[in-house]
């Protein structure tokens, strides 16, 4: 019994290694920025990693909403044509310097704070931070009080006012609960990258980098060391997982 289990895990390990090797040699000269290691499905997340994102606003094109539409498709978010109450996990924001008229375009979403105010105020424990730094809403426990929405300085959370009938099976969503960016946790747990990051790269902007900010070898850490990355509202001392360049 135990022997066969060992063999199965060994086999899957060998397969994964082979896949990784094949992926690395996909084409000569192609530089792979992130080779994420998928954790085994039965393994719990640990605080050895902290997922984060670095957004280069100098590469983010104004008018491009590839990340927003990718997020909506991935998570089954549909508009009810009521912009004031429609759910929104990621949005494009334009900052304009009044003096110089210089404009910056950037995507804004849950910043996955190390000390999230939404978690502080949640009366039921539905708002929580996973060990790997991803801030989530456990909709099984959420009572829809929307306290977290008031506490969030980034206006990152939305409330599902209406019945959700276009859910996908890996992102269950429903009426009467609060929701926000999950960093595509269903993808991340399987070694993937968030849909927005992928869409940004596909649109050839490459303004978003996703990775483990605790791993000094990761692309995001190297970029952060080299160029730095600013927090929005750093004065609040939340130590956000999403950082920006060029603001």
């Amino acid at each position: 019994m135990s022997n066969s289990e060992v063999n199965i895990s060994r086999r899957s390990f060998v397969e994964k290694s082979a896949t990784a090797a094949a992926a690395l040699s996909i084409a000569p000269g192609v530089f792979l920025h992130t080779v994420a290691e998928a954790k085994p499905a039965e393994q719990a997340v640990t605080s050895a990693v902290r997922w984060g994102m670095l957004i280069d606003t100098t590469k983010c094109a104004s008018g491009c909403t590839a990340c927003v539409s990718a997020c909506n498709t991935e998570n089954g978010i549909a508009s009810h044509n009521r912009p004031r109450t429609d759910q929104q996990w990621i949005r494009k924001v334009t900052l304009r310097d009044k003096q110089t008229k210089h404009e910056i375009s950037l995507p804004m979403m849950c910043q996955h704070c190390e000390s999230p105010p939404c978690v502080d105020v949640c009366p039921t424990g539905a708002s929580f931070k996973r060990k790997d730094g991803i801030v989530l809403v456990d909709r099984h426990i959420c009572i829809g009080c929307r306290y977290c929405m008031m506490a969030c300085p980034y206006k990152a959370r939305s409330f599902a006012h209406e019945t959700v009938d276009n859910t996908v099976d890996y992102v269950p969503r429903g009426k009467g609960t609060v929701e926000s960016c999950t960093l595509c946790v269903h993808r991340v747990d399987e070694g993937g990258t968030p849909a927005c990051v992928e869409a940004c790269a596909e649109a050839e902007h490459g303004a978003m980098i996703f990775g483990d900010i605790k791993n000094p070898e990761s692309e995001i850490s190297r970029q952060l060391v080299e160029h730095g990355g600013k927090q929005i509202r750093a004065d609040l001392g939340l130590n956000t997982g999403v950082r920006y360049r060029g603001i």
Binding site: A23, G29, T34, K39, V45, R130, P172, D189, E198, G206
Partner: protein, 170 residues
């Protein structure tokens, strides 16, 4: 007068006893035959994918499926453990036919066939899908997103070579 009361009392006890006896005979006639489903029990649809064994023996699942699912729910939500065995998604993928028109609430749906009968209401399917999902919206599985696309990095107005070749793979 007192004697009359006592007589009535005895009669009532006898009637009650007879009623209980009649009920137990009825109950036994319904349940006694091993393997035979009582006529009033619901028709629970069996998996259509050919599998004959559940993740636990049938009796255990009948009694305790909710505990397995609840435990897995918290493990997945809070610890990112995404094993399939006890996940609600696995239940649905196995027990509900792919192109079914039955929705939760219909007697033909696997979950509601029994839940309607027992009068136990659940709210799983206010959020979760009550049927297997077909094609993923993007037409690709999250599993395929193992490696992020090469990011075209502009260095002084020129992009690094080979990145265009890679994007042609799409």
């Amino acid at each position: 007068m007192q004697q009359l009361n006592k007589c009535m009392h005895n009669t009532l006890i006898t009637i009650a006893g007879l009623a209980m006896l009649a009920f137990s005979v009825f109950a036994v006639s319904n349940f006694a035959w091993a393997g035979e489903k009582p006529s009033f029990a619901p028709d629970v649809p069996h998996p259509t994918n050919g599998s004959t064994e559940c993740v636990q023996p049938e009796d255990e699942m009948k009694k305790n499926h909710m505990n397995y699912i609840l435990h897995q729910r918290d493990e997945t939500m809070h610890n990112g453990i995404r094993t399939e065995t006890y996940s609600l998604k696995k239940c649905i993928n196995c027990h509900v036919p792919k192109n079914t028109t039955a929705r939760f609430g219909d007697d033909e749906h696997f979950c509601s066939s029994c839940h309607n009968f027992t009068g136990v209401s659940i709210d799983c399917f206010q959020c979760h899908m009550d049927r297997p999902m077909g094609e993923k919206p993007l037409g690709k599985s999250p599993h395929n997103a193992q490696i992020s696309k090469p990011v075209p990095t502009k260095v002084a107005g020129t992009s690094i070579e080979n990145t265009e070749g890679a994007s042609n793979n799409e």
